[in-house]
Structures are given as structure tokens and as C-alpha cells.
Symmetry: C2
Subunit: 750 residues, 2 copies
């Protein structure tokens, strides 16, 4: 076992650096938070509730600490025994003579409060509480959890759990966990950090990693998160020098901004974050008052947050493990073009199918390179896939030469080679390994995945030579694509704006007219329009704003104007304006005699653009989220929308626009006019700044439609609705008290 | 090794049964084709080009035949040796004293013709030709291939290959293959049949199956398919009593109807066909004259054919193997509802996410059942997922009782249980296995997948008890879904019509008017409309058909009328009709002075429905394919279309309509009027019959738009184009001479 992980992190000598806003130009510079050092590198550990039986929950930690060669002091605490597993036991943690850095608490829930009090008295820096029976079981447990939080906070003691599986640091041999995953041996050191809210999921990941020879250096399960929560762990690992890749299993984030900061710290340090976030099926749309609000679901926000901040969201444990394995090798593709070398024509086509499906480009080799391969292998496929045919199997040097040719002349960001059982066939295996090891020396940075189905010892030879090895072509290609996504995420600056304007009091925005006035002041183009009181004034206003016009009722009580006959489109004459205004007032009075009427809005009629929807929802966890989609069936039926945490800049807005499936419509699909995408991006970025400036007052914004005019002509908000926080703050599933969401009743689609 | 697979098949005593059309009411009744018995069950085998070196291509078949205990006679043929691997060798196949059922030909390409001649003289029933150097290498090879075809046909000898890896029957020990996949041991018998066009893919599948303990009974690689092709193999296996599941690796089908017949034979016998069809990325749209034609790609036709005829298309080798493994157990879900039992809350939610994503319903348990589980496990999650918590792990009987409760009261078609490493923990493993074996006895037919990561011997115990075992939750759930799809496919009648009308000569359909007249006679509703010659007649016709009207130019030379100003919509008066008709004739004369003008079409103006596109493309391999989609961006941008081989009935048409993503629009999404889906289905079925009746004359049909009116009001074809076969028969990629498509230049998207 290696040395204890002495945490150093990056320290640029500027003590105020970590207080800077994340976007004061260029990359954020953050100091390493040392907060979890006491947890991951204790010098002395008390086990309160230690058992003499090394197979019981109370016995496992001591057994694992010994198996892993933990060098610090270990003090079993058990009032009923003088000795536990051969060590002297203490009746009370306060009886321990020396200092204690960390306590592992394995007592029943009703004894935890007094145990934590004792730990506080002893001056222990950190306690890991395995016990369950807290917030996850109901109000009484929640009160108990709150009590231990208070004791710990007062004493300056950190808490992990309750209701967790603990943590370990395989470098120092500190194993503060009782997971059964190590029943057949503890974890060996490695460069992976694992953070899981679910103990069982964390244990499963540890078990799977061990089986796949992936060493986990630091591992932590946060359970009910009375104190230490997942974001802090990610941030600590982002700075920890022994951690190279971070794997995450998340159920619900409590503090959105802190989570974002943690992801940015990982990106800053070039550490891939590979996350499983569960709850896709359960998280329905938020309760919302606006059209936009109905489009946003908790899960889509997580999707957006992870993508926007450079993390990769994996769908399955297999995908997470494959990508973790590959990321630990530290090589990332330089572009999205995939080279395919194969010993089977049919499987080469299958590989091309898989590549195109995930989004890698199967670009053809140039003629020169194709000629070189044909010169070596007369009947080879040379376009890409490069099929070396049975001749390649019989003469393995042809395989490595073909790969070299593809790498040298194809400019592929990554390459996959299908070998099936060939490396295990004695007559082929040895020359093949030699040829590929030699190829590796000439191309040390190339990302090369080999598909092979061979015994572990053969597999290891190729891995040690720097190849990624997969048994299945699709998994290899899916992983290469994910590496490419991570590379892209690293290449982006964190999305940010120079300075969000200071929040100002929100004026009256109860009706469309005032909502648009306010948005107009924040940089979103609106029409020159007028509010009038009488039909005669409507006629005059129509003349002023220019015919044809649109008439709309203005009322704080009527958010959905069309339903009460409160909108008249395409009014072409001044006379018609007067007449239609009169009829409109009549209809509205009939339909809603109770409504307060502020007047009639007279606007120039605009048509000929592409209708879009731009909106904001203020999420309880992550704050304002901007939503974008095209009008009509695109959002309503196809739910083709993209999301971003606010604020963001125009570059991010461009990515947001291009992310929807229907983006081609804006970009001039099928000979249609290209919309003014630059102006749209400016407006989305402006909307994101507005949302942040008014995050305390605004619950939702709905610009529907935002008309995108042809290129060079801008965009214009034709209708807008601003919902104040007081009236309808959307509730996200993330609001459920923590510890409860694991259990029950996250309604799953049936 | 078991007995030789004596092929019996089903024989209902009616010698003409297999000649009946597949749809003469009820299920087709097909006699077993005995055609491949000589190949799969030879009593005597000659190996022409046999090598004394058992590691060479010429040496492996003899080695494998011996290792597998083949009981028949084996005759090495090698003019340069008296003995090969200890057996007497013959200089010429004609020197062999006794009869020879089958010859394996392993000589260089230039010697194959004379070898096949010798085999024909000897009266051999079947030859397997490993040699390459035929159609796959160019014209000279193609001529050589044609020559051996002719010799074999004249002699009544069957050919497998050339350029193939052969075939085996593990029941009889007949191994006519040189694949390296068996270097470490031949395949053991089992109930899987494998058919692969690609030798390497077939070998890879065999190797993977062996590794996963899946026994392959019959295996065949068809290579260049000079004679035996994939469809015949599938059909033979559909009838073969030892084959339970058929796995398929396809590059291109040569004879569409025969392939369809083979799939239907498998469905008839209740045998799942699990297919990989490569080329998704390469197969572009067909060259086509109509709008419909441009929507159809070769790959989409394969998709439709496989789905329509009950086969399952797998995307990856992993998926194919998982589903093969599960199908061999012979249990299929009774419905699409999935029960989830888990020892981890977080992974339970992950399982629910995966289920919803693939399309299984995670339906909640009823209150009574939930109460029962809570009574056993106080803090259990009971809704579904059912989270038995750590208590379940400590008391395994609680897991089996929870599963039993879910099966008894949840009515789930299948169930997945997450166990991770628990079955391998000694204190848990034994009681867990006992509890689950006992559960199995009470629920022998339930489809239950267990997620566990354990050593093979423990895994085997659960498999033998009738559980499916997976290491990854997602793979388990994906497989359960696929089993459900297969069950659904089996439940459907083959899509068919009572009797396709006899083909009649195709009248003049060069213009829209005549095309619609013809379609109208075949049961597709069209408008009452008139063709006139002069503006005055147009006015009169407008009065007759009813205002408002649409005017369109009628000309065999102008398929795209709008482009030349040849369409006027919404003409509201008789006077306007005359005036607009004059202007229209003028515009068309200016734009296309060369065009022959048949007249002006005067139609009633129809609006207020939902626009759809119904079309036909006559595929070179599969014959007429009907295409359906909604108008506008649905087909043009989203390519949201569905396909079916013609002919089909209204039930199939209903499935076709519901398959598109935008189907909700037709079914009354968001308060819109529900379209007349029944009438649409009738028209699609009528179009499919028309397409079959005129398959020799019609290349494409394009009904665009087919207006779907509100429920009860029918549909109406507002415009139609029929393209005759002579003018523009679409070319499919499948037209490439066989053997060539593996190699090169299937253009892959870059």
C-alpha cells in the first residue's frame, strides 16, 4: 500500500483567489479546499460500536483497515469488551488517550446523538455515521438528524452520513466502510475517485471496478448528507493530486451553484467527471404557470448542467465503467473522425454503422493512402473501414502497417481495430503483439481501441502497451465517442458573462405590454407599440405604428388572451382598427366581466419569420434556466428544446440553438431563408443575464413567439409573459427533503 | 456427441401445401424443405486439398471432425500424400471407393472449376468451397464463379460458398469449417442456429457463443452465395427440429420474397429470428423520381421487412448474444409491464429509467400488495421499484417473497432483480439460492432476470433454476424488452390480403388526372374533378364541381406543376376561374413552350384536414414498399416515415400509421380534431394491393398530399404521381453483384 495521500492541490499564493467570481475573464482560479483531508487522511480512527466478528457491520471496518495496511492508530470502542479483534477496546471514545482524527459510528439510531456529543467532547474532527433511522425514515428521524447536525456544527466537526456506507482511501489504507464488496479483498490503489449518494450503488461500482482491474483511490458515499454532500466531494477530488478521473452516482443535488463550481473545478484541472444521474423517468415537468415552464423537467436541467459544465452523463453502469477505464488512460481524441481497421468486412461495416449512430465521422482515407494499403494487401478494403482481409490475420505486420497508414494519412482522432480471437491464437498472437507494440512507440498519443476476446493475461499485454481493449465493437465505439465529447467539453471555456447586472427591483410586469417594455430595456428587441384606452385611440395608434396592426387586450387578469377573443390579427385599415377594437372590448367584457382592463395594445403586424420560444424557469436547486425551442409542433409535440443555466454568453447561446433537432430550419434548411441566428443568440444571452439579475423576483419568463427574422433583420419578441416568484415559484423534485427521495413515490411513468 | 440431426420438419400430408400463397387465410402452412440435409448431415465427407498440418486451413476440418467425434466416413484428397493426419489419402476424389455425400474444397481458385467437375462426376451431393478469388475480386473471378454454378446446377449438386468459412452441425460432429474460433476446442451442441453471410462474423459469433456457454447446433456461412443463400438457410432452420432460435448476420439479401418466406416459416414455428443487418450508415436513399422515393433507403426497407415479419433487429453483437441467450430459455413476457425488485434504491431508479427508455412500463403495485411488503420490510420501497433495502440482503427470503408478491399481484410480464455481489457472499448466497429456487417452482413460467456479478459456477446455479442472469442492469432490461418485442411479433398474423387482384395492363397515368382516376378505381378516394381545354370551360367546370376551386395544369411533361406557375388555389368565383385559367395557360406556355398540354384540371378546393404522404417504391430486392408520413417538416426535415412491404391489410396499416413519431397529430393531439385514421388505413391497404397488382409496371407512386379529414369524413388524394417502371426504376444498393459489397466503396457518411 502506498503512502498517505498528502493533499496539496494548487495554490497560487493568492488567498482571495477562491472568492473571485468564476468568470472574471479567462479560467477561474480556485484554491484547493482542504475540507475533506480529515476524512480521507486520518492519522487515528476510533470505531464506535466495533464488533469482534469481522463479518459484521461493526467488525468489517477494522478488518479492512488491517487488510489494507492502514498505518495510523485504530481504537475500537465497545463498552462490553476489553478487546476487539485483538486490539484494546475502550468503553467510551472519551477514554482514548491520544488524539482521534476520525470516528466511525456504528451504533443504533437512538444512541447516535449521545455518541456524536461524546465525539464533539473528544475534539474529533470528523465522524462517519453508518447508522440508518434518520431523515430517510420520517419526521422523527429527521429531527434526530437535525440534532446531530447542530452538535457537529457547534463543535466544528464534519459529518459523513448518516445512512451511508462510508469512505475509503486505498492509498493510505484507510477503509472507513462496511461494504460487502470487499469481502473477497479490499480495493487496490488507483487514480479513480468515486462519489455516490447511494451506498449500494457506490459499493456496486467498487465491486465492478475491482473486477475490471480499475483501482479506486478515493471513494465516498454520502447517504443522507447531514453535512458533507456530493458537491464538496467532487470539488475536493477535483483538486486532489491522486485523482485523475471522477465517477459520480447522483440522486439529487441540494446546492446547485456549489455543484456547478465543483464541475468547473474538475474541468479546470482537466479531470473527466463521468456521472450517472438517476431519475430520468420519474422527474416529470415542473409545476409551472407558463408555456416554457411546462417544457422544463428536473431531468432536463441536470442534462443541461452536466453538459454545460463539461461532465459526461452515462446512461448505464457499463457505460460509466467503460468510459472510466478509457479516461484513466489519459488519451483523448483530437477530433471526431474515426478510423476503422478490421479483419472482417462485415464487422467493419457494423463498426461504421455504430460510429455514425453515436456521432463519429467515418471519413474516407485519401487516394494516396488507399494506394499504399492496396500495394500491401491487394484485395483490402481501403476507403474506411480498412479491411485487411484474412491476409492481415495471417501476416499481423499488415495490420499494424494499415493502422499506421490510417493514423499518418487519415488524420483520425481515434481508431478502432477489430481482432476478435486472433491475439489468442498462438501462431498469430506473438507477431501481432510485437507489431502493435512497435506501432505504439511511433504513435504514443493516438487513441486506439482494440476489439478482442482473449484471456485476461493477453488483454493486459495490450493494455500495458497503451491500447484500450474491448470485447464488443459497439462498446469500444461508444467509449471513443464519449472520450471525444469529454475532449470537447474540456476545450470550452466555462460559459459566463463579464458581469451580471446588479439586481434591481422588478417593476410592474403583470401584462404583456409592461413585460415587453422591461425585456426591451434588457436588450431583447420588441416592437414599437402603444397601449390605448378607446377604439378611437386604437385607430390613431394604428396609423402611428403603421398598418397592418395587431390588437390585443391588456389585462393583468388575462394571461391567455386568445381564449377570450382578446387578439385580432392583420387589421389593415384605420377604420377596421377602430371597429375591431370596439368588438374586442365587447368580447372580452362578455367573457371576463371581472377582469381589470388596462387597455388595448396596438402593434405593427409582423410575419415572415420563424417562430421560436425563448423562456426562463427559475429552478429551486440550480436557479434560472433558459429554455429555447422552435414554435408549433417542435416544442408542443416533439419537445425539441434545449436548456442552459443562466447566465451564459453568445457562444454558449449558439451551441444552445444548434442543439435542437430542428436547428436546420433556422439555418436555412431546404432553401428556406436563414434566420438571424446571431441576433437570436444575442437575445438568449441577454435573457440569461436578465434572469440572473432578477432571480429573486422572477419565477418564469415566456417569450412566445420570439420571431426570428431573415439574416440581418434581427429577432423580435411578439408576446411575453413574466411570472413573479411570489405568484408561482416552480417546485422541483429536488425540493424533497434529502434522504427521502431514495425511498418511495418518485412517480414512475406507467 | 448426440445423434445426427435427422431432419423431419412438419409434414401435413399435402404435397402442394408449400406452393400455396402465404396468405390464403390464416397461417401459412409450409412443408419443411429438406434441401440442406445433405449439407448438415452428410454420412461421408471428402476433404479436397486436405493438409497434414492440423493448424492449416486444409488441416483444420479433419482435426475438428475428429475432435467432435464425427461418425461418418472421412476421405482426405491430396495427390501429393498417401496419408493425411493418419488417414489414407486419395489422389482424386473420383478414386474414393464408396459414395461421398459432401466435399470440402480447399484448393486455389484456379483449380476449383476442375475440382467441382470431378465432384460432379463422382456424384457428390454438396460441395463447400472455402477458396476465395471469385466474384469478390472482380470480373474474372465472377466468370469463374458462374462456371462452377453451371457445373453444379447441371449435376444437381449443391454449393456452399465460394469464399466462405463453411458450416457445422455440432449434434452430428460434422465440422466443415476451418475457422480459428475452434482452435481451443470445437463447439458443443445446442439449440441455436447461426446463419452468416460473413465468414469472419460467423466465426466471431461462434467464438463468443462458446465463451458464453451458448451451444450452437447448426452454423453456416454463405460467403459469395453461388448457390445456397441466407434465406434458404433460415427457412431450413425454421423447420429443423433441433433449432430453437436463429441468429442472423446479413450484409445483403438477394431474393426478397424468399427471405420473407423464411422469416414467416420461423414465425410459424415460433422460433425467434435475431438479426444483425449491417450497412445502416452506408445505405443512402434510393435514386428516385418521386418525393416518396427520396424518403426510402435500403436500410429502412430492411428495418420494415424484419419488423413486419416478426424478426428482431439487433444493433450490436452484445445485444444479439444477450437476446439469443435469453430466447433460448424459451420464456417470453406476457405483457410489457416490468416489475423491479432491488437491494439498492438508487439502482432501482436507474432500472426504472432504463425500462422507460426502452419502452417497458414500470407500473405501480396495488395498495394491497404494497401493504404486504411493508408488513415484511417496514422501510421498503413498495411502489415499483420494490426496494427491499439492506434488510432484504440480510434476510434473503424477503427478496423471494417480494418477487412472489410482485408476480402474484403486479401482473408483470417480466421482472428484474438487482443483487450485485450478494449471491457470492457466503452467508447470503446459500439461503438466497434456496429461496429463489423455491420461488421458481411456484412460478415456472415467469420471465425473471437477475442482475448479479458472481463467479461462473454461482451464475450457473441460477441459470439452471430457470433465471436469466446479467451482469448489467441495462442489458438485462434491454433484453427483457426485446423478448417482449418478439412475443408481440409472434402474436401477429402475417400481414396479408385475401387475394391480390390480378395484374392488369397499366393505362395512361402520365398526368395527375389520370393517375388519380386509376387510384380511385383501386379504392383510394379522390375528388370529383374535371379536365377542360379552355378558360370558358374552366368557368363552367368550376360551377359544376362547386366553388371554391383549384386549377392545375395537366401535362405529361410537367410533373412539378408549382414550379411553372401551373397551380392556382382558392379560386372563389366563376369569373375568377375563367380569368385565372387564362393566366395559368399563359404562364405555363412561357415557362415550358415545349410541354404537351392535356388541359386544365378543375377540382373542388379542400382544406381543413391533416396533410399526409402515401407512396410506393418498387424495391429491386423486396418488391413494392408502401411509405407513409405526415406532410411538411415531418417528412422533409424529420424524416418521420414508416414502411411496409406490400401487400398488407388494414390492421397492419394501422400499425404503420401509429409507428411514426407524429402519430399523435392524427390521433387528436392537444385538442386538435382526430383524423379519419380508419379511412387512412383502408387507403394504405388499398394502395398496397394496387402496388402489388402493378408491380411489373409501376416504379413509384406519390400521393402528396393525401388529406386526412376529421373522423368520419374520410381521406382524399389531392395530388398523385405514378412513375412507370420503364422510365425510372429505382436502384437499390442490393443490386450490387453479390460478393462485391463487402469490399469497398459502400459510401459511408463522413
Amino acid at each position: 500500500m502506498g503512502a498517505i495521500a498528502a493533499h496539496s492541490g494548487r495554490d497560487d499564493g493568492d488567498p482571495a483567489a477562491h472568492d473571485r467570481p468564476a468568470c472574471s475573464g479567462g479560467r477561474p482560479r480556485m484554491r484547493a479546499p482542504a475540507t475533506l483531508d480529515a476524512l480521507f487522511a486520518p492519522r487515528s480512527v476510533a470505531i464506535i460500536g466495533a464488533s469482534n466478528d469481522s463479518n459484521r457491520i461493526g467488525g468489517r471496518p477494522l478488518r479492512y483497515l488491517r487488510e489494507a495496511g492502514f498505518a495510523g492508530a485504530v481504537y475500537p470502542v465497545n463498552p462490553r469488551r476489553n478487546e476487539v479483534q485483538g486490539l484494546r477496546a475502550y468503553a467510551d471514545v472519551r477514554d482514548i488517550p491520544g488524539p482521534v482524527d476520525l470516528a466511525i459510528v456504528i451504533v443504533s439510531a437512538d444512541l447516535v446523538v449521545e455518541t456524536i456529543e461524546a465525539c464533539a467532547e473528544k475534539g474529533i474532527g470528523c465522524a462517519i455515521i453508518f447508522s440508518s433511522g434518520f431523515a430517510e425514515v420520517g419526521p422523527e428521524g429527521a429531527r434526530r438528524q437535525q440534532r446531530i447536525e447542530e452538535i457537529a456544527r457547534a463543535a466544528g466537526m464534519r459529518l459523513l452520513g448518516p445512512n451511508c456506507l462510508g469512505a475509503f482511501n486505498s492509498h493510505s489504507g484507510f477503509f472507513g466502510t462496511f461494504t460487502q464488496a470487499f469481502d473477497t479483498g479490499v480495493m487496490f490503489p488507483g487514480e479513480l475517485g468515486v462519489v455516490s449518494q447511494s451506498g449500494a450503488a457506490g459499493a456496486h461500482l467498487a465491486y465492478m471496478c475491482r473486477q475490471r482491474c480499475i483501482g479506486i483511490g478515493h471513494w465516498i458515499t454520502t447517504g443522507n448528507e447531514a453535512d458533507i454532500e456530493v458537491s464538496e466531494c467532487v470539488e475536493w477530488m477535483a483538486h486532489a493530486p491522486h485523482v485523475k478521473v471522477i465517477a459520480l452516482f447522483v440522486e439529487a443535488i441540494r446546492n446547485g451553484p456549489r455543484f456547478v463550481r465543483a464541475l468547473e473545478a474538475a474541468r479546470e484541472h482537466g479531470k473527466p467527471v463521468i456521472a450517472i444521474k438517476v431519475g430520468r423517468s420519474a422527474a416529470g415537468a415542473l409545476a409551472a404557470a407558463s408555456h416554457t415552464g411546462a417544457l422544463v423537467g428536473e431531468d432536463k436541467i441536470y442534462d443541461a448542467v452536466l453538459r454545460q459544465h463539461g461532465a459526461y452523463r452515462a446512461e448505464s453502469i457499463d457505460e460509466l465503467l467503460d468510459l472510466t477505464y478509457a479516461s484513466l488512460q489519459g488519451r483523448f481524441p483530437s477530433n471526431s473522425r474515426l478510423g476503422i481497421v478490421t479483419t472482417s468486412g462485415g464487422l467493419g461495416i457494423l463498426a461504421a454503422d455504430a460510429a455514425v449512430q453515436v456521432g463519429l465521422a467515418v471519413a474516407p482515407l485519401n487516394e494516396g493512402a488507399r494506394g499504399k494499403i492496396t500495394a500491401m494487401i491487394p484485395f483490402a478494403g481501403t476507403r474506411n473501414p480498412i479491411d485487411v482481409t484474412a491476409q492481415g490475420v495471417n501476416e499481423p505486420i499488415l495490420i499494424s502497417r494499415s493502422i499506421a497508414c490510417a493514423l499518418n494519412e487519415g488524420g483520425y482522432g481515434s481508431l478502432v481495430c477489430f481482432l476478435t480471437s486472433a491475439p489468442a491464437v498462438p501462431s498469430i498472437g506473438t507477431p501481432l503483439l510485437q507489431a502493435l507494440v512497435s506501432l505504439r512507440q511511433d504513435h504514443p498519443d493516438a487513441v486506439i481501441a482494440l476489439e478482442m476476446v482473449v484471456p485476461p493475461e493477453i488483454r493486459r499485454q495490450y493494455e500495458e502497451a497503451g491500447f484500450l481493449v474491448f470485447e464488443d465493437l459497439h462498446r469500444a465505439i461508444r467509449t471513443l465517442h464519449a472520450l471525444d465529447v469529454i475532449r470537447n467539453g474540456f476545450a470550452l471555456q466555462p460559459s459566463c458573462v463579464p458581469d451580471a447586472p446588479a439586481a434591481t427591483a422588478l417593476p410592474d410586469v403583470a401584462d404583456e405590454y409592461n413585460a415587453k417594455l422591461l425585456l426591451g430595456r434588457h436588450g431583447i428587441p420588441v416592437l414599437a407599440e402603444r397601449v390605448v384606452s378607446t377604439p378611437a385611440q386604437a385607430a390613431e395608434a394604428a396609423r402611428e405604428v403603421g398598418l397592418p396592426v395587431v390588437l390585443k387586450i391588456v389585462s393583468p387578469d388575462i394571461p391567455h388572451k386568445t381564449e377570450v377573443g382578446g387578439v385580432v390579427l392583420d387589421v389593415r385599415t384605420v377604420e377596421a382598427a377602430e371597429e375591431q377594437a370596439r368588438a374586442l372590448l365587447h368580447r372580452v367584457a362578455e367573457a371576463r366581466p371581472d377582469a381589470r382592463i388596462s387597455g388595448i395594445l396596438v402593434s405593427p403586424m409582423r410575419s415572415g419569420g420563424i417562430e421560436s420560444i425563448c423562456g426562463v424557469v427559475n429552478d429551486a436547486v440550480f436557479g434560472p434556466v433558459v429554455v429555447f425551442g422552435l414554435g408549433g409542433i417542435h416544442v408542443e409535440l416533439l419537445r425539441d428544446v434545449s436548456f442552459r443555466l443562466a447566465p451564459f454568453d453568445e457562444a454558449e447561446a449558439h451551441r444552445m440553438i444548434r442543439e435542437i433537432r430542428g436547428a436546420q430550419i433556422l439555418l436555412g434548411a431546404r432553401g428556406g431563408a436563414r434566420g438571424d441566428v446571431d441576433a437570436l443568440a444575442r437575445s438568449l444571452a441577454a435573457l440569461s443575464r436578465f434572469a440572473v439579475a432578477h432571480r429573486d423576483q422572477v419565477a418564469e419568463v415566456d417569450i412566445n413567439p420570439m420571431m426570428v427574422l431573415p439574416e440581418g433583420e434581427g429577432v423580435v419578441a411578439l408576446d411575453a409573459l413574466i411570472v413573479r416568484s411570489e405568484s408561482a415559484r416552480p417546485q422541483s423534485v429536488s425540493n424533497i427533503p434529502h434522504g427521502a427521495e431514495n425511498r418511495e413515490d418518485r412517480s414512475v411513468l406507467a
